[in-house]
């Protein structure tokens, strides 16, 4: 029992440290560097304590137990319920938070001219903290509140370089899309549930799970979390928004924020609602479409960060595919339940892995940006010579995301393949085939990413570049070693990943999946004897290493250098390398039909969004008239926001009322309790959203 208390303290410590970082940043407001360094020192400590908490809590979660904490903050009691699923996200947040905290102080020098270091720290801490709380909180109302905080903080971080036109546009797109397609459905869902249970406390997960709920919630949650996760067709905001932010924030956004949506999806549709076969199919198919569209688009990109952002869409597809297949088979139950749990674990494994390698890739892209001031792959080159460590870490990340053994990406992809190909279901096998194909496309894209930035000889732009500072390297090295570690010894994390699945099913997983340190073995229903799928990464590395070293030693090579061969006439080296934009052109040309339909899809998404914005604004105007009768204060804010300009500009003064407004929303809703008028509540929340949106 005392151990649980200690764990709770660790968790609380993390939360407090995040608040402390904000405080420290505010104290040293005048000194840009100091505020950021100190702030990040605190966030690093916070991440460490979160990691500590996670590691301590894992054994508990494996026993199927959860940790419950309640914070009483005066106006309300916030309940927390931390089970295996939460811990997975906590681990990701801790690891990635630690890496970015170590990485950022040096990196943020890049933005020194923009100033406002204290604000950055506040936003950063708010952002990370909100995510930590989202994945641990156990009340849907607070979940939604924190969800808004997360969206808002990330929005402000995206438009950090707000003097750039494209950044403002991307931020606006993000903000509007998030509110229309993510917050709105969630608000409606919460409002509907609220109407049903009648109190904020009633929105507790445990309480909700006991209710019998209509299928409409599946749709609402699907849209709400799907759009945040960047699932096609609501993915169009992501490739604009993620690259616009500073790279460390991009890493967090791509690494964690979109994963939080997956968490939300699983939490709501599996734990609150019951797993449903049809819903599972929808998730799996959407996932496959997403991974196809996202990755094939990524294939075309030549902007380093945009390429990575498109891959975030694509890799989210893998996660959804795994989760979807998991939901299908968990819902089917019986002999398939264990298989479903494995599939769910595969999806979650990819979630963790993607957070690690995508975070690492964004940090690498940030390092390149930091040194060369360019993210254009066409003009980069030869960095392997100048930034050798960054090159190695990037290569590890690239090979991980491309799914090359023995890195972690391979393990999770392998498990996803197993869960689709062995499903005995033609449709799922087809989805697996697409996943396999897209895995090759991912490889293609990352070979391009790596070889254009790091391969070849230095170009005009890169010739004077130096390796980045050691703190940045340590952050990347930490993530890279995690990539390798989880790939080599997947058993370190697999039990944790299996715990949500086993919580959802009664099946005994041990007879279906073996996870020793050196071996992963999977069995599927109706699988014949001695035909299990197994993989032993450590043995593979041993065999491979022995052979590699063997031939390397038997056929040594001296370094005898000469110019590349130009068939006899001189050619300038800078003109003799394939440009990033020309990679795979015939293939891209061949699948231009797909690109075309993809464009149409995102056009459709955009159109829907625009229509919704229009409807939203009209409703808001109506609301504005309605609300005038209800509350003068609300009207005043509404009026002011509705009439203000569409263009967004961040100002310090504009920030605090917004936060106040969000906090006040809780009070407002509580007061409206007595009205018990569903529509009004929804509209008032909408007004709040509108206010936020116009900020």
């Amino acid at each position: 029992m005392g151990e649980v208390v200690k764990m709770k303290e660790l968790f609380t410590l993390a939360v407090i440290l995040y608040f402390a970082s904000m405080l420290v940043a505010l104290i040293f407001k005048k000194n840009y560097k100091l505020s950021i360094s100190l702030g990040h020192a605190f966030t690093a400590l916070a991440s460490l304590s979160l990691l500590g908490f996670t590691i301590n809590a894992i054994p508990l979660a494996l026993q199927g137990k959860a940790i419950d904490i309640v914070y009483n903050i005066g106006v309300a009691k916030i309940p927390f319920h931390i089970d295996g699923l939460s811990l997975i996200l906590c681990f990701v947040l801790g690891a990635l938070g630690l890496a970015t905290s170590v990485y950022s102080p040096k990196y943020m020098e890049f933005y020194e001219k923009l100033g406002k270091g204290w604000l950055y720290i506040i936003l950063y801490s708010t952002f990370v903290l909100s995510m930590i709380l989202i994945v641990t909180v156990s009340n849907l109302f607070w979940f939604l509140f924190l969800w808004e905080v997360m969206t808002f903080a990330s929005y402000v971080l995206i438009i950090w370089e707000s003097e750039e036109e494209y950044v403002r546009k991307a931020g606006w797109k993000y903000f509007v899309t998030m509110h229309i397609t993510s917050t709105l459905p969630l608000v409606i869902a919460v409002a509907l549930l609220y109407a049903k249970v009648g109190s904020v406390d009633g929105l507790n997960f445990a309480n909700l799970a006991s209710l019998k709920l209509s299928p409409i919630f599946y749709v609402l949650f699907l849209i709400g979390f799907g759009s945040k996760a960047g699932v096609v067709p609501i993915h169009f905001w992501l490739p604009d928004a993620h690259p616009a932010a500073p790279s460390n924030v991009s890493a967090l956004m791509s690494g964690v924020m979109i994963k939080v949506a997956v968490y939300g999806l699983i939490r709501t549709t599996c734990f609150i609602l019951k797993p449903d076969v049809t819903f599972g199919y929808i998730v799996a198919v959407l996932g496959t479409i997403t991974l196809t569209v996202g990755t094939l688009y990524a294939l075309k990109q030549t902007d380093a960060k945009r390429l990575l952002a498109y891959h975030s869409v694509g890799q989210m597809g893998y996660i959804w595919l795994g989760v979807g297949v998991g939901i299908i088979f968990i819902a089917k139950g019986g002999a398939y339940a264990a298989f479903g749990a494995i599939a769910l674990a595969a999806g979650l494994f990819h979630l963790v892995n993607h957070a690690l390698f995508k975070g690492l890739l964004f940090l690498s892209a940030g390092s390149i940006l930091y040194r060369t001031h360019s993210r254009d792959l066409n003009s980069l080159g030869g960095l392997a010579k100048l930034m050798p460590f960054t090159a190695i870490f990037t290569l590890i990340a690239a090979m991980s995301i491309a799914g090359e053994p023995p890195f972690n990406g391979f393990m999770s992809k392998w498990m996803i393949y197993q869960s689709t190909f062995l499903s005995g279901n033609g449709l799922l096998v087809f989805l697996g085939v697409m996943a396999l194909f897209i895995s090759a496309a991912t490889l293609a894209s990352f070979i391009k990413f790596y070889t254009t930035a790091f391969g070849g000889e230095p170009t005009k732009l890169t010739q004077d570049v130096k390796e980045v500072s050691s703190s940045m390297l340590i952050a990347k090295g930490f993530l890279a070693s995690l990539c390798l570690l989880l790939g080599l010894v997947p058993a370190l994390i697999l039990p944790l990943l299996l715990s949500p699945g086993s919580a959802l099913t009664d099946a005994n997983l041990t007879s279906w999946i073996t996870t020793k340190y050196w071996l992963v073995m999977i069995k599927a229903p109706s699988m014949p004897l001695n035909a299990e799928s197994y993989f032993n990464p450590l043995l593979f590395v041993a065999v491979f290493g022995v052979m590699f070293l063997g031939v390397f030693a038997s056929f040594p090579v001296n370094k005898k250098l000469d110019e590349p061969w130009t068939t006899g006439e001189p050619v300038k080296m800078e003109n003799y390398k394939l440009k990033a934009k020309h990679y795979y052109l015939p293939f891209e040309d061949y699948i231009r039909g797909l690109y075309h339909s993809g464009d149409e899809l995102s056009k459709f998404g955009n159109a829907v969004k625009d229509a919704l914005v229009y409807a939203y604004l009209s409703v808001a105007k109506t609301l504005h008239r309605w609300a005038a009768k209800l509350s003068g204060a609300v009207t005043g804010i509404g009026k002011w926001y509705v009439s203000s300009v569409k263009e967004v500009y961040l100002d310090e003064t504009a920030l605090s009322p917004a936060i106040k407004a969000i906090k006040a929303s809780a009070v407002v809703i509580e007061e409206l309790d007595s009205l018990n008028m569903l529509f009004t509540v929804t509209l008032i929340v909408l007004a709040l959203m509108l206010a936020l949106m116009l900020l």
């Binding site: 068939t567 006899g568 394939l578 795979y584 052109l585 015939p586």
Partner: protein, 558 residues
Amino acid sequence: MKYLEELKAKFGERIEEIKQLAHNQWLITVDKDILHEVVVYFLKHPEWKETQLSTMVGTDERPLRGKFSVIYWLSVNGNSDDVYIGIKAYLPADDPRFKSVTPFHKGANWYEREVQDLLGIIPEGHPDPRRLVLPDDWPSCVYPLRKDFHYSDSPQGKKYYPYREPPQGTTVHPIGPYHVALDEPAHFRLYVKGEEIIDCDYRGFYSHRGIEKISESRLTYDQICFIAERICGICGFTHSTAYCQAVEAAGEIEVPERALYIRTIMLELERLHSHLLWMGVACHLTGFDTGFMHAWRLREYVMWLCERLTGNRKTYGINLVGGVRRDFLDYRKEMIEDVLKKLKSEFGKLVDDLTSTRTFIKRCEGVGVLPYKLAHEWSVDGPLGRGSGRDFDVRRDHPYAAYGDLDFKVPVYKEGDVLARALVRIEEIWESIWIIEQALDQLPGGDILAEYKEIPPYREVIGTTEAPRGENVHYVMTGPGNTVYRYRARAATYNNLPAVPDMLRGYTIADAPLIIASIDPCYSCTERVQIVDVESGKVRILKEEEFNKLSIKASRRV
């Protein structure tokens, strides 16, 4: 020549002289200021559909009359009164300039650059006046074909060549001079986006041997036959024939009929093995080695035959001014018949194999298209032109040797792609077999070599043949004492090669070798002219050097 009246009416006074050089050759001397107008007038004449810029010759005539001269030779094809028209203008020795024709007719591009390189005659308004012929390290303002330049001199300059800058955002993909797909050195500098070719720059003349300068400097009429044959390793016989025909026309030598027939047979045998060689190369470039081997196996029959007929597989060495040196004895006639029989049956099978290899046809179809209009603008020759719908053939339009007596078809395809060129060549092989059969039947008896004595000096004349690759034009201006005053050999590839960049544009680097090969390029043919090879001089070993020195001394003595 009814058009001459028209011409006179148009340009009047400024036409200085019109004279007939041979039965189908006219030389019109005009004022240098209207030179380009007259040339363009003929090239774009509405009634002459297939007029070609056949060759252009610049001559240092300062020792004779204190002036430079340039002649544009045009061949008028596809009409009943098919003739060659030379349009000549004299340029002052102190300021040799003339208006460039290139802006009006792309085909003049190389000719004018060559004249600029070798004689220092400046084409004004030329769109691309970079160096063409001379090596990168040749000093500027040294003009080797001027008469005051000795053929054994080799001045050294700084190595530099101004390649075009790559277009924005492209990568350079150099093909050659050392590339497996090129049988001889040439440099195609492709500017590519990934696989797609956006633009192309060309640099050639690596195997430039100075044949013309040597011929003008120290060889006699008969000796030039052999060096002319060595212009090309594949179609050498057409070159020596063209040369002999030029000298024979200048000297008004009556060549015995039997010699003409023997020449015809040899020319067609040469076409056979050249086309078979090309088919093999095309197969090889697309990775279809079986087609390559079998095409060359068939070619080998012809090569063996040639060896038996002339004493050598290639460079037969049987042409002399006035006839041929070796007669066909009866047993050799039988050999020809045997080989033709074998060839007919096996070649049919080979063509079937090629056309039924889907992958091969896919690679050739719709690739490297040269539309008719461009084909005309570049004045392309031979199968390349006929594959683009140009209906001409020197053998039919300007009959030489025994072709006037023989019956044959000229295949023409309109598609203009690699496949069309291949089909033209395949049909030409059938026609060649048919021509040889006819010639063998009709082979007259009698002498094979006519004696000649002194050929009057300073006569200008051209000899033309239809080589496997197109029209070969040899211009000869006779000199005193059985030597040549000016010799200009133009191989078919010289007209075809400049069109290659236009054919490459828009296709991929995978197609590039095939497209380049589809014109059946013969770089050394194209690059004959001028000075003794500078390169080999650097690497020769002592013994040889001594020998060469001695031989140069010896030949000066002669």
